[in-house]
């Protein structure tokens, strides 16, 4: 398998042109392989667990929190951002890689326009997360590391030690976010530079601006690496989104909320605070007619 494509420039020097398309297939195989292994592993694990007693949910108010029935996980603005970004990402992947595998169409203009849409959504997300949300909510803290270690240990040694409940975002979500951020920002930054080499709404191509042939080769390689990285990430992301045991999260990306039971089952109310703590902490049931608006995005 080759990693790079190289050609001789007009001065006879061998320069990078871009990544080898073998990497595209490798990324796809890696993503699909991960999905297959995960499917087998979870199936085997569920068979092994089938004889054990089902876990009893604690009453929702047992921690002394007044909680509404529906708990806002993703505000409308976040959902709109997510789906806009998803559409842009899919369009980018299709326009980038389908022509390489033989599905031919005029892809260049669609690709950079989708890239601009993705750039705009990411900029919005960065500003929104920085100004109106807790920027550090995605930060991986000691609790996350401990939980991650425990999960990994459970997988490797087939233990069933219960992992501590998480804040709003489990550590695997945070890791995916950071991986997608690196790959996405790499593709965006290099893609914006590459727009200088083609005719766009913003001006004619200036292919010899800024960098030498060799440096442009590095830009193309980084763009390719970001792109193939996103293939793996998107494949695994879609896989987890459609898994039945993750529907409770996936549905929240459509409707915004999760149920109180799911909240109590998966999250630690101390780490993702969405309700009011009762003064007596005696486990009195809350008013079930409630629906949080906005609290879902506050963190303590």
């Amino acid at each position: 398998m080759e990693l790079w494509r190289k050609l001789a420039n007009p001065w006879g020097q061998e320069v990078l042109i871009g990544i080898s398309w073998d990497l595209m297939w490798a990324a796809l195989v890696f993503g699909l392989g991960f999905v297959a292994v995960h499917c087998v592993w979870t199936y085997a694990r569920s068979n092994a667990d089938s004889g054990s007693d089902p876990v009893e949910l604690e009453p929702h108010s047992s921690k002394g929190w007044n909680l509404p029935v529906k708990i806002l996980r993703h505000a409308m603005s976040e959902r709109v951002f997510h789906w806009l970004m998803s559409v842009a990402m899919i369009v980018l992947l299709v326009t980038a890689f389908f022509p390489i595998v033989g599905v031919q169409f005029a892809w260049v203009e669609i690709h950079w326009i989708a890239g601009l849409v993705l750039t705009a959504t990411i900029l919005y997300h960065i500003i929104h997360a920085t100004v109106w949300q807790n920027f550090w909510a995605m930060w991986i803290d000691k609790n996350d590391i401990d939980a991650g270690k425990l999960e990994l240990n459970n997988i490797l040694s087939n233990n069933e030690e219960e992992a501590p409940k998480t804040g709003k975002y489990p550590v695997d979500h945070k890791l995916f976010h950071h991986a997608a951020s690196v790959a996405g920002l790499l593709a965006i930054a290099t893609g914006l530079l590459m727009m200088l080499r083609i005719d766009t709404w913003f001006g004619p191509a200036g292919p010899d601006r800024f960098f030498s042939d060799a440096q442009w080769g590095v830009v193309y390689v980084l763009h390719g690496l970001g792109g193939v990285g996103l293939i793996t990430l998107v494949v695994t992301h879609i896989y987890f989104a459609v898994r039945p045991d993750k529907w409770w999260i996936t549905k929240s990306m459509f409707f915004g909320w999760i149920t109180r039971d799911d909240y109590l089952k998966h999250h630690d109310p101390e780490r993702w605070v969405v309700g009011e703590k009762e003064a007596s902490e005696q486990g009195v049931a809350s008013n079930d007619s409630g629906f949080t608006h906005g609290e879902g995005n506050s963190f303590r």
Binding site: P99, W107, R197, G206, D208
Partner: protein
């Protein structure tokens, strides 16, 4: 131009006698295979050592690809028919003089004797950055050396560019588009027929191919319907010198008259884009009107605006050239 080294890299030479055998060979070698028809473009590539195929499939012995076959529906020309035969064929001279005129403007008598119609239609672009072996988009690289503000791009395109600004060099392509020709393509999955203008590939779709032919496909024949037989034709090739040169630009028109009025028309230009351009908006515009010089001028201007023609650093002359060629193709047609 690159220095021709006269030292061709080694390759396997196949000389099949049937189309199916040729296709089987091309399927076997894929991107490593090369179709040789007249050899006039191929041997430049080979001697420059820029193209180094593993296998060359010479179509010279495939008889079914040669000859002009006439019928009441029109005419079918085998892709391996020589340009000279096309240019001098009595039936074509009488009914489709636009094609014979275009063919007679190709290169020199020697080249026309050896070159084929299929080869003329399928040949690669003449952009010298590309032909010199520079790693441009068309050669699999990531830059167009001809599109920069300091490039030598006098012969390059004024419309239809997508990263690559090279132009299609075929002289017969605009004539066949004006005649409403269809191209017959055969491959492992069978035969398909495409309209002449759809045979040519935009770099926006595939920047490394000039035509829609895949590695295992052959252009086998060109069918010209009887629809435009005996219509009013105009063909003009503008070049830097009178012989043995590629076109700076060429225009072809086929116009049917009803009295003094244009009843139907087809126009195409080449040398303006990476593919021959059919001017459908202009065709619609001139229908139902008298072919006057005023109409020609308006049509020429319309051709520029509808193709969104924009010059590169050194080819601004192509804008008035295109306008005037379209103008002349309307007022100067010969019935």
């Amino acid at each position: 131009m690159a220095i021709i080294r006269d030292m061709i890299s080694g390759f396997e030479l196949f000389q099949p006698t049937a189309v199916d055998d040729a296709i089987e060979l091309l399927s076997r070698y894929g991107d490593e295979g090369w179709v040789l028809s007249g050899g006039l473009d191929s041997f430049d590539w080979f001697k420059d050592r820029i193209k180094k195929p593993a296998a060359v499939v010479d179509l010279g012995n495939v008889k079914e690809l040669k000859g002009v076959r006439t019928s009441t529906d029109g005419v079918e020309i085998g892709a391996m028919t020589t340009v000279t035969e096309v240019a001098k064929h009595p039936h074509l001279l009488e009914n489709y003089s636009i094609l014979t005129k275009a063919a007679s403007h190709i290169a020199t008598p020697q080249i026309r004797n050896r070159g084929t119609l299929g080869g003329n239609l399928s040949q690669d672009t003449r952009c010298w950055y590309y032909r010199s072996g520079w790693p441009c988009y068309r050669a699999g690289g990531n830059v167009c050396y001809a599109g920069t503000p300091t490039s030598m791009n006098r012969e390059h395109c004024i419309t239809g560019a997508s990263r690559c600004v090279a132009v299609n060099p075929s002289d017969t392509a605009p004539a066949l588009i004006a005649l409403g020709a269809q191209f017959v393509i055969r491959g492992p999955k069978g035969e398909k027929v495409v309209e002449a203008q759809d045979y040519f590939m935009s770099p926006a779709v595939d920047i490394q191919r000039m035509t829609v032919l895949k590695a295992d496909e052959l252009l086998t024949a060109i069918r010209i319907p009887a629809t435009w037989s005996g219509a009013g034709f105009y063909y003009e090739k503008m070049e830097d010198r009178k012989a043995w040169d590629f076109a700076l630009m060429s225009v072809a028109s086929a116009i049917k008259m009803s009295g003094e009025i244009i009843e139907d028309a087809r126009l195409a230009v080449n040398g303006v884009a990476p593919f021959p351009v059919r001017l459908e908006v202009v065709e619609s515009f001139i229908k139902g009107k008298e072919p006057t010089d005023e109409l020609g001028m308006a049509a020429g201007q319309l051709a520029l605006s509808t193709t969104n023609a924009q010059p590169l650093r050194h080819n601004a002359f192509k804008l008035p050239l295109m306008r005037n060629l379209v103008r002349r193709s309307i007022r100067g047609m010969e019935g």
